[in-house]
């Protein structure tokens, strides 16, 4: 067997087998990458090359935004922000039918505008919303499904750690990707609101609306302003040239500290625990980034992306068919893999192919992130789904049944994101972030 084919086989079988055996994904990728490199270079060369990649893959200033955004999220969670955002969401959508479920959807989107991850939103917002919805007669599995389905919007709405990872592997501007994520994030939120609307049509008892007095409503909104200001600091800071994306994330940390202390929700003695919390989440991502860097090195070395690209282009040169093929592959991958490792593995393979069709890396970024976000709410592996079920005190099966209509609507949204590039590129283009 040719060394390149052997390396490819080791990667494919090694990663799949080890993941199935419940080996941590990072170790499955790292060990397979090392063994594939051994097949090409022998033991000495392989260990040097792979280890060097693991180190240098993490040694990146733009990547540093991730620990800061994670830390800012932890500080916000402990700083009493979820309650304020939920109250504000209630004011905004209280008049729509099924107002409590709609409030959950919008609160998750707003939470997404201040944090970079989805699990935290699902846990914080779900914990508050589930008991309220139960009291008003909502089906518990449905309200858990609403919460799960709407939380991933935060990974598309800036700031987004997922886009930082993509920006790293695709060499695209973080600022442009952040702006590109706004449209698809709103599509995601709208898809969820639509499903809720259709659901309450069949359940007239849930059509209740919450009318809030104007004056009272303004007070509630005002209270949420300092929290929502975080997105202004981050995006405004980057666009005005006060700081780079990474620096903006560090400033966001400082801002959350100031806010948390001002609200008297943070104690200095609790900071070490929060730093450690954020450190753990960061480490999980960093190890994945490191080993994926070793993986993409050996794939380039064996020229595997070119082989896959030639293979796909050999089947058809119709860009629509190839895009659909990619999206189906990513949806399947997403059912059992988190967005980060999937982005790290598939971007280097797919991006050169879509580039041949003139699709911009920014647009491909929103496609791949939106697509893989669907996976965080699908079984068998879907963290946001799991967390939502758990905070509602439910087993998975009933929630899975209720999430199906959301999946249908969200995949409909994926078509829009894939085939309407302007949805992603318009905003960054208007802001002069892409040509």
């Amino acid at each position: 067997m040719e060394p390149a084919s052997l390396a490819g086989l080791i990667l494919l079988v090694g990663i799949a087998l080890m993941i199935a055996l419940s080996v941590p994904i990072a170790v499955a990728i790292g060990l397979s990458a090392i063994f594939a490199t051994v097949a090409l270079l022998g033991f000495e060369g392989a260990t040097l090359a792979s280890s060097q990649r693991m180190f240098t893959g993490i040694n990146s200033f733009p990547l540093l935004a991730i620990p800061f955004f994670v830390l800012a999220g932890v500080l916000m969670n402990n700083g009493g922000i979820a309650g304020r955002l939920i109250d504000a969401a209630k004011v905004l959508v209280g008049r729509t039918p099924g107002s409590l479920a709609q409030t959950n959807v919008v609160a998750n989107a707003m939470f997404g505008a201040v944090s970079g991850a989805a699990v935290a939103a699902a846990a914080a917002v779900g914990t508050v919303m589930e008991p309220r919805q139960r009291k008003e007669g909502y089906d518990r599995a449905f309200s858990a499904a609403v919460n799960a389905a709407s939380a991933p919007a935060g990974m598309l709405i800036p700031p987004s750690n997922t886009f930082i990872v993509y920006s790293l592997v695709s060499s695209t501007s973080i600022a442009a990707l952040f702006m590109a994520g706004v449209g698809p994030g709103l599509v995601w939120t709208a898809a969820c609101m639509l499903v809720v609307l259709l659901y309450v049509r069949k359940h007239p008892e849930l059509r209740k609306t919450d009318r809030v007095q104007l004056r009272q409503g303004l007070v509630v909104l005002w209270k949420a302003v300092p929290s929502l200001l975080m997105i202004v600091i981050v995006i405004g800071g980057i666009l005005s040239g006060f700081f780079t994306a990474t620096e903006s994330a560090a400033i966001a940390v400082v801002y959350c500290l100031v806010l948390g202390f001002a609200y008297r929700m943070l104690k200095v003695s609790e900071l070490p625990r929060m730093l450690l919390d954020a450190g753990r989440t960061t480490a999980i991502v960093m190890l994945l980034v490191g080993v994926s860097s070793a993986l993409s090195w050996v794939m380039s070395f064996a020229r595997i992306p070119e082989l896959i690209s030639e293979g796909m282009l050999g089947v058809t040169d119709n860009s629509t068919i190839i895009l659909i093929m990619m999206m189906v592959i990513l949806l399947l991958v997403g059912t059992f893999m988190d967005p980060t490792p999937a982005i790290l593995i598939f971007t280097p393979i797919f991006l050169p192919i879509v580039a041949e069709f003139g699709i911009s890396p920014i647009h491909f970024g929103t496609m791949i992130v939106y697509n893989l976000c669907v996976g965080v709410i699908t079984p068998p592996v879907g963290n946001v789904l799991f967390v939502s079920a758990r905070v509602a005190g439910l087993r998975l099966e009933p929630v899975i049944a209720k999430i199906v209509p959301f999946l249908v609507a969200l995949i409909g949204g994926l078509f829009v994101v894939v085939f309407v590039p302007e949805l992603s590129t318009w905003l960054p283009t208007q802001m002069g972030l892409v040509d």
Binding site: L21, V23, M155, F336
Partner: protein, 168 residues
């Protein structure tokens, strides 16, 4: 062995907290130096990057201590208890292989190769920075051995309980 694990956990946690706090301070200083006192820092970016790498590796070892790295266990959960335990030991063995080959041996090779290569802004060598890999590798090996013993003794479940770990 439990005492050793607890000692390592506490020490690592302390180091991670300090490195993370330092990271925030360095980058905030970078903004302050450039935007407020108009004297851009020439060392902060490099310092931040390497602090981050050290934090990432050390915190990663700590997550191995908690069996917290993301894994897909829905297949293994369906298997009989004895098979689960065999697989749990095999998983830890693979983690040890990764730690010893990729982090300890490979890290030492990389450190040796870059031992004389100076950093551009900081007064040390790239090889010294690479030492975080072998150190982390040894820590992960110790933790994995601990888990093997704990699973065999029945002190730990073969499949770690699900937690909220996610790769964001």
């Amino acid at each position: 062995m439990l005492a050793l694990k607890k000692f390592l956990d506490r020490s690592l946690a302390a180091v991670c907290v300090v490195l993370f706090a330092l990271l925030v301070v360095i980058v905030v200083w970078q903004v302050f130096a450039r935007q407020v006192i108009s004297d851009p820092s020439t060392w902060s970016e490099e310092a931040a990057r390497y602090t981050f790498v050290w934090l990432g590796f050390f915190a990663s070892a700590l997550v191995f201590s908690e069996r917290g790295h993301i894994a897909v266990d829905f297949v293994v959960r369906k298997l009989p208890g004895l098979v689960q335990r065999v697989i749990a030991v095999l998983v830890q063995a693979l983690i040890i292989a990764f730690a010893l080959i990729g982090l300890v041996w490979g890290g030492l090779r990389a450190a040796q190769g870059a031992w004389d290569t100076n950093l551009t802004a900081l007064p040390t060598q790239i090889g010294v920075m690479y030492l975080v890999m072998p150190i982390t590798g040894v820590l992960i090996t110790v933790y994995a051995l601990y888990h093997v013993v704990a699973v065999l003794r029945g002190a730990e479940l073969a499949v770690a309980p699900t937690d909220d770990a996610e790769a964001i």
